[in-house]
Symmetry: C2
Subunit: 248 residues, 2 copies
DNA sequence: CGAGGTCTTGACCTCCCTCAAGCCTTGTGG
DNA sequence: CCACAAGGCTTGAGGGAGGTCAAGACCTCG
């Protein structure tokens, strides 16, 4: 955790929102050009995080939000008796730490599933800037409420749906998020293990594996370890139709 | 709970935070006296909502947050195929609508489980006031992040815990929230049906009923329909120990 | 007082978990 | 560069928690 924070990029480039390719997906969405330049000043340079490292941990003092620039994170909540629940997977342009925004402690742990880069958004600067730029303040509200809605979708998924449906929702969601970032929506690599998928979806890793196999037998997908190819999107959508699922 | 309703002053005035008995639980928490008076101006008079009525519905234009003054609400998300997931129960001092804050549409439906009164907090006034009062703005952030954490606790509950544990967490949580409002933590009336409890906890109403019966056989609680008496709090806590659960 | 909603309880069944064995992939050190 | 270890994945067999279906009791409210 502390390791990550101390590493400084080699040619300390400052990340700038105003030229970032992710601006349509990330914090600056909807800001005017001049406001975005103000935001640039409030953001710390790109920080690398190595695979397996924690960006922050549950209970850490909350100082900053983080935006994923490249790579893939999971966030987890751990109960006292050691049960771990994955609460989300996060890719480029998505913010982490909103569950602690305005408080003094992080409410979950964020772990890099591959080598990543993040932008750091120090809270006090962001707060001050938000008070000056109403559009930014409103956008922060919006991002947080979107997170609430996402979590409520996850509750519906965990509370009401069967293993097949859960995994279908998961695949569809991932596929859509890949597409939104300009990657193929039909072929992608899972960055997380079966166990992590299972934890997120409330099922055991064996059930995840079996369900993948069944989807493959049905000709819906092709699975080769972490490599997924979607063959019959319509069939998967059919299964999920009527579910609310995991909008991100 | 119904007792609370009778406390209402007869000369129905404009709701004012600065004199409200719920201020410690509600929006004004942490504001200075003068700031609270400003907040008074931004709040609409008490609105009654009849049992069974919707305060707002999923998809409705978002115009206001609502604070429960008296009574009891559920919020639900309904998927297209009609599956209903209860996402929360809300009692005096708790805000509803945060999942839509800063957006233009409500993300869930809020239904009164008994005759209720709410305070309406129009968004545009709240937003303007928040830009003037940093403490209020920060408190709004905090309320939203608390909601996110609460939902993540629910995810852990739905994803990892067995029926017994879920119901124990539910009872404990309710008991604590009653206590925080000055009601008995040992005896209370469930305002929701078994089916609604089940929906919230991701189990069927029969399982809720059976689990209540088992708790009663074990001497942990006494159940008479909706009337619950907690007999052995320690045993229930024991069952829940190590779980994160549903902080509110 | 009766009707409809709510709750309890029983019997049965199914989906998913558990346990186990073996294979595959990845990374590391000789 | 290969070998081996360790973690990750798949698949099978069996069992159990909770779902489903059904019947009847109990409220509660018009």
């Amino acid at each position: 955790m502390s390791a990550a924070r101390e590493i400084i990029p080699i040619h300390a480039l400052k990340a700038v929102c105003s030229t970032c390719s992710l601006q349509e997906l990330c914090l600056p969405l909807g800001l005017a050009q001049e406001e975005m330049v103000q935001l640039d000043d409030a953001i710390n340079q790109r920080m690398p995080v190595r695979r397996g490292e924690a960006l922050f941990r549950l209970g850490d003092a909350f100082r900053s939000l983080y935006a994923v620039r490249t790579g893939f994170f999971k966030t987890v909540v751990v109960s006292e008796d050691g049960r771990e629940q994955v609460t989300g997977f996060h890719m480029a342009g998505e913010l982490m730490g909103l569950d602690a925004f305005g408080t003094d402690q992080h409410g979950c742990t964020a772990i890099a599933l591959e080598d990543c880069e993040v932008c750091e958004l120090p809270y006090h600067r962001l707060e001050n800037l938000a008070l000056e730029i109403p559009a930014l303040n409103r956008h922060l509200y919006k991002l947080m409420s979107r997170e609430i809605i996402r979590d409520q979708g996850a509750m519906l998924l965990l509370g009401n749906m069967r293993a097949e449906e859960r995994l279908a929702v998961f695949l569809l969601n991932l596929s859509q998020r890949m597409a939104a970032r300009g990657f193929s929506s039909r072929q992608f690599v899972l960055r997380m293990t079966r166990e992590e998928i299972g934890s997120y979806l409330g099922m055991k890793l064996e059930t995840v594996s079996r369900t993948f196999s069944r989807f493959q037998q049905d000709g819906w997908i092709k699975v080769q370890g972490k490599q997924i190819e979607v063959l019959d999107l319509a069939a998967i959508k059919q299964l999920v139709s009527g579910c609310i699922g995991l909008q991100h």
